[in-house]
Amino acid sequence: MKRRALVLAVLTTLAIAHAAAQDRRSASSEPRPTKNPLEGNKLAISNGAAMFRTRCAGCHGPDARGYLGPDLTGFWFAGGSDDRMFDVVRRGVPGTEMPPADPQRVLDKEIWQVLAYVRTLAAVPPAAATGDAANGERVFRANCASCHMVNGRGGQLGPDLSRIGAGRPRAGLHAKLRGSSDFIRPGYEPVTLVTKEGERIRGVRKNEDEFSIQIMDARERLQGFLKSNLTEVTLEKQSLMPVYGPDRLNDRDLDDLLRYLTTLRGTNAKS
C-alpha cells in the first residue's frame, strides 16, 4: 500500500514537472531560426539601422567597423553565421563590455532587424593583416607589459589585454597608442589625491561615492581613502598610458605590435 502511494506520488510529481516544462515551452518564443528571417527586408534594415545607432554604435562605431568594440563587418567573411551573431547579441560576452540583451526589453525581431542592417555593411572583405607578431610581442614586453597583463604575465595598473584582439579593432588600438583616442575604460580613470599631510598619490579610480574613493596607486596597491582626509581629488582626462608617437614607436614596430595585439583572443587566458 505504502509502495503504491509512493509510486503514485512520484508519478504525480513527474506529471506536474512535465506540465510545468510544457508551460515554459509554450510561453517561450518559437525556436530560433539559424538564418536571419529578415535579411534583405527593407523596413527591417531601416529600423535595424536606427536601433544599431542607439544600442550598438557607441562601441562598434557608426559604420560597425569597430571603435571600443570589435569590427562587425568582417564577421560573416570570417565564417560567422546569423545564429551565432544572434546568440552573441542575446547572451552578451561574459567578461567583456558586451552586455546581454534582456528578452523583456529586446525582442528577437529587433535583434534580427539589427543583424539585417549590419549584414548590409559587410560587403567588403577585411584588410589583410600586416606586421610581425613575434617582434610585436617583444615590443609589448619592452613597452607595455609593466602596466598590462597578457595571459597572467604583466602589470595590473592598466586593463588585462589577454583578449584585446577579440574586443578591439586594429584601428581602435592604433588610435589609442598614437594618442588620438581619449577613451578611458571605467575603472582605469587616472586620479590624483592630495592628503591633509600634503602627500600626492596618483593612481586609477576603482570606485567612488560622496564620502570616499577607492584607487589602485601607481605601485599597484589597492587603497580606500575618506574624502574628509583629503584636500584634493582630481580626476584627469588624460589616460595614465603614455602616447606612443613616432618618436617613441616607429611605424614598423607599431605595425608589429598591432599584429601581436590582434592575435590576443583569450584562448590561453585564465577564465
Binding site: 526589453r105 525582442l107 560622496e210
Partner: protein
C-alpha cells in the same frame, strides 16, 4: 448556604465573562485601520499607513527625537534580509510595532519593527511570460481594516490578511499577457482600494481602477487614454485610428487624496509608442498628465497635461503633493509636482489651473510653460532616424523616487537628475504583449549628474542643493526636527533641511531605489531604509527611554 455562595460566585463569574465578551464584540479590534486613521496620516507617529505617510504625499514626519544635533549618533539597530533579487522600490508600512513591506517578484513580509525578526512571508506563485519593462518590482502595500492590499506582476489586485499573510481575495485587473502588470502601491480611500496598471512600453491602454476593499469587486474604472465618446478623444489623430487603444498612459506609482474635495489625484504615464508620434498626432489625452477623479465614481473632474503629445517617454508618474499655501497674499489649495519633463509645477487642486511652472533641471524640449499651461516647445526636438539630442533624457529630471515637503519651511525636497540623450525613432507595429516603443535613446554619459535639491515653493527657485557623485534613484523623507533623509551611491544620508548641510551617512552596500520612512516604537524613533536585498533600521545609539 455554602451552596448558594458557590452558586452566586459562579453566576458572577459567568456574568463577568459574558460582559467582557460582549464588550470585546462591540469594540473594534485595536488593529483595525479605519478610513479616519488614513486621513490622520502621520498624526500618530507610531504608524506609517500609506505610501507617502499621508494622503497629501508630504513624507514629512512630526517626529523630533532624531535631530540635526544628534543625528551623527544614528546607528543600525537591525537588518532584515529579503533574499529576493531585484530593485527594492517599495515603501514599508508600519502599524502596532510591525513593518509590512513588499519586495520584487511579488514577495512580502511582516517584520517585528523592534527587532527585524520575520513574522510571516508572502510569495505569489507567478506564471511564466511576465512582461515588465523595468524590473519585476513592487512599490508597496496599502492597508485598511485588518487587510493589506497589493498589485501583482500578473496584473491582479490581492487582499492579504495582516495577521497571517494569507490571500483573502484576488481580482484580475486585466490579462497580463497583453503587456500589463501591476507594480504601484495601492491607495486605500474610504472603503475602496484604488490602483492602476503599468505597461506603456507594450502598447497597453492605461487605467485607474477602484475595488471594494471588502469584496474585491470592481467599483469603477477610468481609462487614461480617451476612447470614442470620451471628452478628449479628438486628441488622438494621425495614421492609426486605433492609436488610443494602445496609447499607453500607465499608472505605476500611487496618487493622492483630498478628503474635503473627495478627489483623488494620479499622475499618468507616457504615450505609446514612446518615441514615434506620427501615428498618434494630437495631445494624446490623458497621457503624461495629472487627473483629478471623484473618489466615489472615478469621474474625471479636471486634468492638466504636463507633456502634450509626449514623444520623449516623460511619464508623469511622480508624486502629486497636496499643499495649502499662501501665494501672492491669497490662501491657495495646490498640487505641487516635480515632473520627469524637468519642470516644477504648482496647480490649483480644485480646478487644475496652472499657477506656476519653472524648470528645476536643464530642459531643452521646452523653453518654458506658457501662462495658458501649454509648453513652449523648442525647435528640433522630435526624435528622428538620425537621432535628436534632447535634455533631459528619457529617465527624466526626476522619476518614481518620492520627494518630500516641509510645509513649515515651504521647501520641497527632490532628487533632481541632469541628463541629455540622443532620441531615435523608428516605425513599430503594435502586437499585443510585445514591446511598442517606436525608438530608443542613447543616454549621454558625460551629461549625467544628480543632486538633492530644495525648492522654495513660494518662488519655484532652488534654495540649496547637495550634489551626488552618481545619478541617484533614491527618494526623500523629512522630519519636523529639521532633517532630510535621502541618498545616492548606496549611502543613506541625513541633511539639515534649512541649509542642505550633510550631517550623517551610512553606506548600505547597494543602490537605493526607494525612500526612507520613520516611526516610533517603545518611545524610540527608527529610520527604516530598503536597499539591495535588505531593510535596515537605524536609531540613536545611546538612546534611553
Amino acid at each position: 448556604m455554602r451552596q448558594s455562595l458557590v452558586r452566586s460566585v459562579y453566576a458572577t463569574l459567568v456574568a463577568a465573562i459574558v460582559t467582557s465578551w460582549s464588550i470585546a464584540a462591540q469594540q473594534p479590534s485595536p488593529t483595525q485601520v479605519t478610513a479616519q486613521d488614513l486621513r490622520d496620516g502621520l498624526k500618530n507617529p507610531t504608524r506609517w499607513l500609506t505610501y507617502s505617510g499621508d494622503y497629501g504625499n508630504h513624507r514629512h514626519s512630526p517626529l523630533t527625537q532624531i535631530t540635526p544635533a544628534n543625528v551623527h549618533r544614528l546607528t543600525a539597530q537591525w537588518q532584515f534580509q529579503t533574499d529576493t533579487l531585484g530593485k527594492f522600490e517599495a515603501t514599508p508600512l508600519v502599524l502596532d510595532g510591525v513593518v509590512y513591506v513588499t519586495g520584487p517578484l511579488d514577495t512580502g513580509w511582516a517584520i517585528d519593527a523592534r527587532t527585524g525578526r520575520q513574522i510571516w512571508r508572502y510569495r505569489r506563485d507567478l506564471p511564466s511570460g511576465l512582461i515588465a519593462c523595468c524590473g519585476l518590482v513592487n512599490r508597496g502595500f496599502a492597508v485598511l481594516g485588518d487587510r493589506l492590499f497589493k498589485t501583482t506582476l500578473d496584473a491582479h489586485v490581492v487582499a492579504i490578511s495582516r495577521k497571517t499573510g494569507a490571500i483573502e481575495w484576488d481580482t484580475t485587473m486585466v490579462n497580463y499577457r497583453n503587456g500589463y502588470s501591476g507594480t504601484t502601491a495601492p491607495l486605500a480611500v474610504r472603503d475602496k482600494v484604488i490602483v492602476g496598471v503599468a505597461g506603456a512600453e507594450y502598447g497597453v491602454r492605461g487605467f485607474i481602477d477602484a475595488y471594494d476593499a471588502q469584496t474585491g469587486k470592481q467599483v469603477w474604472r477610468f481609462y487614461t487614454t480617451a476612447g470614442p465618446g470620451d471628452a478628449g478623444h479628438s486628441t488622438w489623430r494621425g495614421t492609426d485610428a486605433k492609436a488610443w487603444e494602445h496609447g499607453g498612459g500607465s499608472i505605476w506609482v500611487p496618487g493622492a487624496y483630498d478628503p474635503e474635495l473627495n478627489l483623488t489625484y494620479w499622475g499618468t504615464g507616457n504615450a505609446g509608442p514612446d518615441y514615434n508620434g506620427l501615428e498618434r498626432e494630437g495631445d494624446n489625452l490623458y497621457t503624461a498628465s495629472i487627473v483629478a477623479l471623484d473618489a466615489d465614481t472615478g469621474k474625471l473632474r479636471w486634468h492638466y497635461q504636463f507633456t502634450p503629445h509626449d514623444i520623449w517617454d516623460y511619464d508623469s508618474t511622480q508624486m502629486p503633493i497636496l499643499a495649502d499655501l499662501t501665494l501672492g497674499g491669497e490662501p491657495r489649495k495646490v498640487v505641487l509636482f516635480a515632473n520627469r519633463n524637468g519642470f516644477f509645477y504648482v496647480l490649483d487642486r480644485a480646478t487644475g489651473k496652472l499657477i506656476r511652472a519653472k524648470p528645476f533641471i536643464q530642459t531643452t524640449w521646452a523653453r518654458e510653460i506658457r501662462p495658458d499651461g501649454r509648453p513652449m516647445l523648442q525647435p528640433n526636438t522630435v526624435p528622428s532616424e538620425e537621432g535628436t539630442k534632447v535634455c533631459p533624457d528619457q529617465t527624466g529630471g526626476t522619476n518614481w523616487m518620492p520627494p518630500s515637503f516641509d510645509a513649515s519651511l515651504g521647501l520641497f525636497f527632490v532628487t533632481a537628475r541632469e541628463s541629455c540623450g540622443i532620441f531615435f525613432s523608428w516605425k513599430d507595429d503594435y502586437t499585443p504583449g510585445e514591446a511598442f516603443r517606436g525608438g530608443a535613446v542613447q543616454r549621454l554619459v558625460d551629461t549625467q549628474s544628480s543632486s538633492l535639491r530644495a525648492i522654495d515653493v513660494a518662488t519655484g527657485e532652488k534654495r540649496w542643493e547637495f550634489p551626488y557623485v552618481n545619478q541617484s534613484w533614491a527618494g526623500v523623507l523629512s522630519t519636523a526636527s529639521g532633517l532630510v533623509f535621502a541618498g545616492g551611491s548606496g549611502n543613506l544620508m541625513a541633511f539639515d533641511s534649512k541649509t542642505g548641510k550633510n550631517l550623517w551617512h551610512f553606506q548600505t552596500g547597494s543602490s537605493l531605489y526607494s525612500g526612507a520612512i520613520t516611526y516610533m516604537v517603545d518611545g524610540r524613533q527608527y529610520v527604516l531604509m530598503p536597499s539591495g536585498t535588505s531593510l535596515t533600521a537605524f536609531a540613536l545609539a545611546d538612546f534611553r527611554n
